[in-house]
Every structure is written in structure tokens, then in C-alpha cells.
Symmetry: C4
Subunit: 243 residues, 4 copies
């Protein structure tokens, strides 16, 4: 699979994911008449549904990361070259930002916004770390590639409710949400705290996965990752990892 | 599979789909006590559930399009003859209209109505294009035929919330909704704008799918489609495409 | 599989199904603060979930009918002997009634009640016929036995909302609901109208299924059904039909 | 699979399960504006989603019990040694309690609490027995290991609504909930009644499963269970049983 096509898949997936997160938040808040629980419920169901579809649809093309934390973990374990990782992350961030703009355009809102939604503090950072930890554990530990779609989606859906931060769990989505002064938004100044927590949780999950799942996997690639290693047939295509 | 039986399947599926969209909207609005978010949530869940069932049930018979935009795309890529496409579209429109009437009959409403629900403007047209784009991408890009049911349903369910137009994404359903002055309705005068946007999104998705998925598919049929091409075993039956 | 064990499975399944329908209605009405849409939403989700579980769990034992309309259709098409059909129906009705009583016991309500909930009129009868028609179509037309659980559950879930009668679609459940003066109840005097409509829809579906699915099935058993026909290996066990 | 790793899986799963039950209850109550039905709906969906993910993810490692009632039943039927059972139960209780504390930390609540939520009486005890009965029936009776995740989750989700006790169905979760004075809490003094009812329902289900499913299974292990029996390949790994 050429890098161009994989990046196209990452870009389209990231765009639709962010458009759903932001757009369904706008729709839900407009209709919910002030009841935030109903708004978050609709926001959750839309996110879960689109995430599962996008992973099943684009996983065979790009492995459907849509998430810099996932791409970083895959790079660290030797499943994605560092060159591809940089390209993935850039496209993910760009796609998510365009997705937020698309949502604004659909709802006749100003295309470029800056969120005033305060999301900060140790409780929310802990929530982001937990959400990202579980997400990476699912990405690294699921057994059948066709289960990744529903497992990732269900984890994110649950974490929307059981973490205090409503589980952004994705640096690219976090940046895109800072561009939307709507239900799903986050103040730009609060973005770094969220991203640091997400990456911390993701790295911890990489260690935990090695302990929990180690004998059930092919041995990790030792030494520096080379393009040829990553491009080897059967590795890139063997599973649809996600986020 | 004879054309008659395929048309029967398209008709029954379109009828139940429209009856669900319109009927669950009536029920939801009656019970929701003015909270449109709860009404749309119920409307969404009923639509998602019935769409998945109908695709799984009738896909093996007619490929379960239930949607002129899907049939048109299949004709353009040589998977459905133009003669069959015309018949499919007529039956889909007829089935959806009968479905709206059935919903009215069940809820003791006047059988024939004309909607006064305003749905227009660039934001909503963009929404319809996005919803149809994603739908066709799912129809053309899914890998396992048994996944079409949940993937199409989940996409539509998400798009009910993240598009400003609540994702009609189907010209036949759009026409049928114009005959219902209820929660799910649309003014007849707003129908053409929606259909043009849906077809535009669908055609764009046909191009995008060729880029994203081209090496993973059998080569597209070149030249004019003949009835014998379409009737070739293994093509018509190989996958359950949907809408 | 002995008849005793099959009847035990039908009884347990019918009991849990009715307990869920009635019990979740009580819980939902108590908590929903007068919003019937939220109450019906919770009632729907609980019913859908338990129906899918019970079909997957008990289908391999008794084929998981839990529904006299399904057993009757199976008898008419020669898949269940008339003797077994009578036993199935009796156990289904008994199990459902015990399920309603169990729900009352759990919620500290009088065990024996008579519903005052009016459910009558042509619109509701049409709704019951439509709901039962679709249910039987799913039972007879699904291709993979493992799909029956989610397909039956999703159909019933959708029909809770798109029919005016909230889709009882089951004579045994209808009788049991008449014993419960709660959210899910129905006046005893309204029961016959519902059951007649359900059986009418079911019989119509038997005809429709022969047209839609006939070449995809083993030929229907002609002539009178004998116990030996029904007991033939591969027939009784080949699929998990449901209701 | 070493006992250490299995216990790690039990601990992590129990922790996330309890964190979800407690955390989503806090979030739901904060947002729902006093409507308990919406709060319980969100609480249910989060629990169902995380339970399915955890079972699919950790079932292959530890069989994903997360529930002393399940481990006890597996010990009684000779599928888990008594030594391992004791270790499983201790880790489950510890994990669940840490999960409640984690939820408190995420929501900036006091880490250690004592619930004042009254949950007692014959109706609720009956509810717990029914919920545990059905859970064990699903654990022992499901046919395909990959179905355990959704079947267990769907059963628990339904039982949240159709039992008067909202289906704790798990002694470890019950103890952990007594440490949380939030939506999901239970007074410490009410814990023994719940646990006794759960174990009673579980034991009854063990008997019922032998009647319902006996010819479809390998013969039960007779005589005392030894470590070597349990460690035999093909038994421990053959299915992912859950709770």
C-alpha cells in the first residue's frame, strides 16, 4: 500500500472523526434544551458509531490510526517507520482540524473559532491518561483484527462517561477541538496538559501490554526500525490497529 | 435471482425503511414532551436498527440498495444494468412513499400529507453531500459482505447527528418524507436541493473510492454494461451493497 | 434434544423475556419523571438486549421461539410437529405469565394484577400485524444462524418505535402484559384484537417469505408433518429460529 | 499462562470495570439534572461497553471473570483450582476497590468514602439472585467463545433495568460500590444481603445449566480438582468465560 494512499485514508478518517465529534456536539446542544446528559449521550453514540465504521473501512488501507498517540506507539514498537510516523501525525492533525471546520460549515457557524471551554486540572489529566492507556491496551491486545472496530469504539464510548475529561484520548482531536467554541471544545491553553497526559497514558500502556500479552505475539522488533522492516508484507497488513 | 424478486425485495425494504423513519419520528415527538434531542435519539436508534436488519435480510436477494443514489453509483461502475437501475429507482421511490403512508395509517393520521418542515440552505446541502459521500464510500469500500449491514447503519446513525440536515442521504426517502407533515418531514420545495446534494456527494465518493480502494478490488468493468455482464454469477451475488 | 429440555428452554426464555419487558417498564416509569420517551427508550434497550442474549443462548436448545406466532408458522411449514407446537405454546404462555409475576415480585408490587392500559383501534392492530410480519420474515429469511439473535432483537427494537402499538408481536407476551397494570400493560379486553392482528401478520409473512426466499432454501416439506420428519437430524438443529 | 499474568489481567479488568460503574454514575448524575432515568441510561451504556471490551481483551489471558461468583462456579465445576480461585477473588475485590478510588480521583472527590445509599429488601435480593442466575447461565451456556463478550454485557445491561436492584450481580463490585457515596453506591450494611443473593442465584444457575446444556458439553470433571487438571491445555484456554 503506497504511503500516499495510506495518508489519504488517515486524512479522510481523521476529518470525518473530528467532524462527527464537533458536529454531533453542536446538534446535541441545540436540541437538548440544556440537559447536558442527553447532549453527551447523543455525542457519544455518534462518535462510537462513526469510529467503528471508519476503523472497519480504512483499517485495511492505513491501519486506521487517526491518532498521533497510536502512531507513536506503533513507531516505538517497530511497526511504523519514523518517517511514516511523522507524516501520519501531520495528516492526522490537519484532517482533524479540517473536520472541525467542516462541522462549522455544515451548521452555519464561523469556520475559524477559538474555544473558551475550560478543561484542566489533575482529575481531568488523570482521566486522559486512563482513557489513552485503555485505548492503547485495546489496540495492542485485541486478538482478531475484525474486532478492533467495535472494541476501540466501545472503549471510547465508555470513557466518554467514566472519565472526568470525557475521553479525548487523541492529540489530533484535542487540537481540533480547541478550534471549536462549541460543546466539544477545549481552551487552547488547556491543550498541552491534555496531550501530555494522553502520551503518558499511551506509553504506560505500551509497557503494560508487553507484560500482559507478551507470549501471545511475535517477538518485538529489536534494534532500529528500517523502512524495509516496516514495509515487509504481513506486518503492515496483518492487523488493523486503531485509535 | 429474477428481476421480479429483486424488485419485490427493494420494494419491501424501502417500504419498511420509510415507515420506520416516519413512524418512529411520530412516536418520538408524541412522547418526548418537546425535547427534540430525545425525539431524534429515538428516531436514530429505530432507523439504525431497521436499516441493519433490512440489509442483512434482503441484501442476498436484491443487494439491498433501497436508495437511488446507491443504484446510480452501481450502474456507473458497471454492477447494475441501466434497465435494472431504472426499475430499482422507481420501486424504491414507490416503496418509500407507501412506507410513509403506512406510518400515517398506523398512527391514525391523514394518509396523504404535504410537509411544511423547512430544510434548506448551504449548510444542510453540504450536510447531505457529506452524508451521501460517506454512505457510498462504505458501500464501495467494505471488505466483508456481512459487515455492510452494521457499517451502513452506523454511518447513517452518526450522520443523523453530525450533519445539519440529519442525513437523509437518499433521494427516495427524501421524496417520501415530503409527503409527511411530521417530525421527519421536508417541504416539497426543498426536495430538489437535497437530492442534488446527495447525488453530488455520491459521485464524488465514487471517485474517492477508486483512489482509496483501487488495488484491493477486481478491475472495474470497462465499456458499456450489458445485461449479461450484470447477470454473471459471482458479481451480483458476491457482495451485499446497500443504502 | 429431548422435548423436556426444549420446553425448559422455552419456559426459561419466555420467563426472562416477559420479566424484562414488564420489569424494565416499571423501572423506567419510576425514574423517568413523566417523560414517556425516555421510559420507552430504556424499555426498548432492555428488551433488545435480553432478546438477543436469550436467542443466542437458548436457540441451540429449543430454537428459541418464545412466541406462539413463531411456533405456529414453524408448524405450518413443517419444521415443528403439531404436538410439540401445542406444548411450546402452553409453555410460552405460562413462562411469560410467570415472568410478569417475577417482575412484580422484584419491584414489590402485587403479584397478580389486571391492566387498565387501553390499547385498541385499527392503527394499533395494523401496527401489530406489521410488527409480526417483519418478525416472521426475519425468522424465515435470515441466512446465517448466528445472525438471528441480533436481527430479531433489532427488528423488535425498531418496531417498538415505528408502530403505534409498540410492537408486542407475540401472543404470549400480550397475555402476560394483560396481567400487569404497569407501563407495559394492556387491558385484557384488548388482548384478542392484538393476537388476531399478530397471527394475521405472521401468516402473511409466511407467504411473502416463500416468494422472496424460495430458491434459497431447501424445498418445503409437503404433506402432513410427522414426528420423524421433525426429529430428523439437521432440520431441528440446522438453524436457530426465533421470536 | 502463568498465574501472575492471569491475576494481572483480573486486576486490571476489575479495576476498569469498577471505575466505569462508579465514574459513569458520577458523570451521569452531575449532567442529568435530576432525571434518574437518563443517568441510569448513561451508566448502563458505559458499563455494557466497557464490560464487552474487557472480556474480549482479557478473556484470552485470565478468562475475564472479574467476579467472585463466576470464579466460585468455575471452581465448583472443576475448571479452576481452589488455590487459583482464592487468588482470583482477592485480586477481583482489590481491583474493584482500586477502581472506585480511581473514579473518585478522576472526579476530584474524596478517595475514601462510605456509601449512604440504601439498597435492601426482598425485592432487591430477588433481583440480585435473578441477575446472577442469568449471568452464570450465559457464562456456562454460550456456544462460541467470541460471543461471551456481547452476551455477558447485554445481559448485565438488560438487568440494570429489569431488576429492582439494578443488577450488581458481582460480589467484588458490590464491595467496591460500598466505598463510594455516589450514584452507584450501596450502604456497607446492605452488602451482605446482596452477596448472599448473588451467590444463591449463581449456584442455582450451575444446576440449571447442567440440565439445559448437559449433552452439549464435555463431561464435567469428576473427583477433586488438581492443579494439573486445571492447567491442562485446551481447558483453560478453550473458552473465555466471564463475568
Amino acid at each position: 500500500m503506497s504511503l500516499t494512499r495510506r495518508l489519504a485514508a488517515e486524512g479522510i478518517g481523521s476529518l470525518f472523526l473530528a467532524a462527527t465529534v464537533v458536529g454531533s456536539g453542536v446538534m446535541a446542544e441545540r436540541l437538548a434544551g440544556g440537559n447536558s446528559a442527553i447532549a453527551l449521550l447523543a455525542n457519544t453514540l455518534a462518535t462510537v458509531a462513526v469510529l467503528a465504521v471508519l476503523i472497519a473501512l480504512l483499517g485495511p488501507v492505513s491501519r486506521a490510526h487517526f491518532n498521533p498517540a497510536v502512531s507513536l506507539v506503533e513507531a516505538l514498537r517497530g511497526s511504523l517507520s519514523w518517517r511514516d510516523t511523522v507524516a501520519y501525525v501531520l495528516v492526522q492533525v490537519l484532517g482533524c482540524c479540517l473536520g472541525a471546520i467542516l462541522a462549522h460549515a455544515m451548521f452555519d457557524l464561523p469556520w475559524l473559532q477559538s474555544s473558551a471551554h475550560v478543561r484542566t486540572g489533575p482529575g481531568q489529566w488523570l482521566g486522559e491518561a486512563v482513557a489513552a492507556f485503555g485505548l492503547i491496551l485495546v489496540v495492542l491486545g485485541h486478538r482478531r483484527s475484525q474486532d478492533a472496530a467495535w472494541m476501540v469504539a466501545a472503549w471510547i464510548g465508555a470513557a466518554y462517561w467514566f472519565t472526568a475529561s470525557t475521553s479525548f484520548a487523541n492529540p489530533a482531536i484535542t487540537i481540533a477541538r480547541s478550534l471549536s467554541d462549541t460543546f466539544a471544545g477545549i481552551r487552547p491553553v488547556d491543550v498541552p496538559g491534555f496531550i501530555i497526559a494522553q502520551l503518558g497514558g499511551a506509553l504506560l500502556a505500551l509497557l503494560a501490554a508487553r507484560l500482559l500479552f507478551r507470549t501471545q505475539r511475535a517477538p518485538a522488533v529489536e534494534g532500529p526500525t528500517t523502512a524495509s522492516t516496516v514495509a515487509a508484507p504481513g506486518r503492515l497488513e496483518s492487523r488493523a490497529d486503531h485509535g
